[in-house]
């Protein structure tokens, strides 16, 4: 596909996106408006992440794409292929080897390094959106640091359910200033948001980019008597035996028997290759 520029977008557009990224890094957690382009894949399918990746990638980069933690989910395959075709960059499934990782809904289990960039696909960047549908209002609330509504929502959860009933896209406060939507990652991943790598968030349809620089304070909102809890299914992985990874639940038969497997396919594979075995691991399974 040589008729397109490196990584599809023209250089002017990339420059515009890089400016938004730099602004986002300078004001952690602040949603920077950007003139999102129509991409050759639908809005809502990672166009924000794809534009941020396109503006971030260099020919020397090694690129990894995951969706739900897995490299082989259809949309991850599709996005990886898009950059193989338009940027010709090397791609990998190994978290270790990647320099840019585009993700939807997960943070890899392996600790990310300072020479890595993780790009999140974001559907609704505004953490206050479902409390206040108007952008004109929510922007005002952010500028005034007026987050009472969010605390009331969390409090109402507790009074109704006895617990904060947000399981993913759990709101965080970045660098003691902006309340931010970490994208729909499970709250299990929230503690990882304080990391060594650069974190970039792209919302294409909503035309917003935001960022969390390395080593930035990221606090999941909670109350002293109802502290934040990073939860996962209370099982080890049935393939690799990991007790510390986020698990997918798989229905195995008509009787409804379940098994639990790592959502991070690369993490699971590397553990199995190192000889770890879970409850249902086959002797010869790789």
């Amino acid at each position: 596909m040589n008729e397109y520029n490196f990584a599809y977008l023209d250089e002017q557009t990339k420059r515009m996106i890089r400016r938004a990224i730099l602004k986002g890094l300078a004001v952690p957690g602040y949603q920077v408006p950007f003139a999102s382009r129509e991409m050759p894949m639908p809005y809502g399918w990672g166009t924000g992440g794809v534009q941020v990746s396109a503006a971030t990638l260099t020919p020397e980069d090694t690129f990894k794409v995951i969706d739900q933690g897995a490299d082989d989910t259809t949309n991850a395959v599709s996005i990886r292929k898009f950059f193989e075709n338009t940027a010709g960059v090397e791609t990998t499934e190994e978290t270790e080897k990647a320099t840019v990782i585009q993700t939807r809904h997960r943070i890899p289990e392996a600790k990310l390094r300072k020479d890595q960039i993780i790009v999140y696909q974001v559907p609704i960047p505004e953490p206050l959106r479902f409390l206040e549908p108007r952008e004109t209002e929510t922007r005002k609330m952010h500028s005034l640091e007026e987050y009472g509504l969010m605390h009331v929502k969390l409090y109402e959860d507790i009074s109704q359910h006895g617990a904060i009933s947000t399981a993913y896209a759990y709101p965080v406060k970045v660098s003691d200033r902006y309340v931010m939507d970490p994208s729909p990652i499970p709250k299990f991943d929230n503690p990882k948001l304080e990391m060594d790598a650069i974190q970039l968030f792209g919302a294409g349809r909503e035309q917003r980019i935001y960022a969390v620089p390395p080593h930035t304070k990221v606090v999941s909102l909670d109350f002293e008597d109802y502290p934040f809890e990073a939860t996962k299914a209370d099982h080890p992985c049935d393939l690799c035996g990991a007790e510390d990874s986020y698990l997918d639940e798989v229905i195995m038969d008509d009787a409804g028997n379940r098994m639990f497997v790592c959502s991070d396919t690369d993490y699971c594979r590397s553990r199995r290759e190192a000889g770890h075995k879970g409850r249902l691991a086959e002797e010869n399974a790789a």
Binding site: S78, P123, F188
Partner: protein
Amino acid sequence: MYVAVKGGETAIENAHAWLAEERRGATDIDELSIVQIREQLGLAVNRVMAEGSLYDPDLAALAIKQSRGDLIEAIFLIRAYRTTLPRFGYSNPVKTDEMACDRRISATFKDAPGGQVLGPTFDYTHRLLDFKLAAEGEVPAAPTAQPRTEATPHITEFLKGEDIIQDEPASDTTPGDLTREPMELPSNRPLRLQSLTRGDEGFVLGMAYSTQRGYARNHAFVGELRIGKVAVEMDIPELGFAIDIGEIELTECETVNQFKGSKTEPPQFTRGYGLVFGQSERKSIAMALVDRALRWEELGEDNLGAPAQDEEFVLSHADNIQATGFLEHIKLPHYVDFQSELELVRKLRREAEERITPKEAAE
């Protein structure tokens, strides 16, 4: 034994191959050509050009063929192509008062200079299936008349002379560009009109219809509806003057709406405006109605809380490419977020059951 689902790549390739086969349909039937679509499905081509924001009938026809007639998919193809095109510059505003009109009607005056020209309209056709078309579509040539050589003035110009309609002062301010800058709200009228003209026809129609039924009712007369070709001129810096770079077909609608008046201002008619690529009558009338409804603040009207008056609501939801993408993305895997909800609901149910179970049973 459990084997993790693999092979997304092959599945995708196979799906694409199947899709291509379905698009072609039965191979013993002649394949549609681009020119056939362009010439015989012209209104579909117009809609794709209007909502795709790209005036190119051949590309629009290609997109319709490629999308198997799914017009939103075709619009999407055009948008994704359009965004890769370089910008050479901006044309001068088109002069619709110099339009070579194929159709020009006014609902406000029985006759006016330029006359009432019905043009190729469905309006007075009886909607009876024409079974003859199933056999053959050849038609006799339509009668012709001498085309009007002088320009056809806008109907609203006649009202302006009497100062009985609100003036729209000309401005040389460069309007914003919806496709190059992020939409910031509150917006302004040029951006609203850009958004409406490329907005989904169904959405804009629904919004317009809601104003007719009383949600911010503002009765509109179609002051004028005109369809025809206009020249596109562009200033060429090297030449120092403007040259014609082409011709496009447009539909323009100006509505004449209820007057307002106050202690200081005498009553005056107000306007709504619609301008759409190609012959896109329904869309341009709907656009004019929604434009008018969105002008409530500027014209000193009350906010009645109606959807069509709500700029943020209308502009955020008018684009069918954004809407369809986000709607359809829920087909994508959501195992991870669903799993986190599953765990949470199980936990909440466990705790609720513990609360409900009588205390003594535990003792």
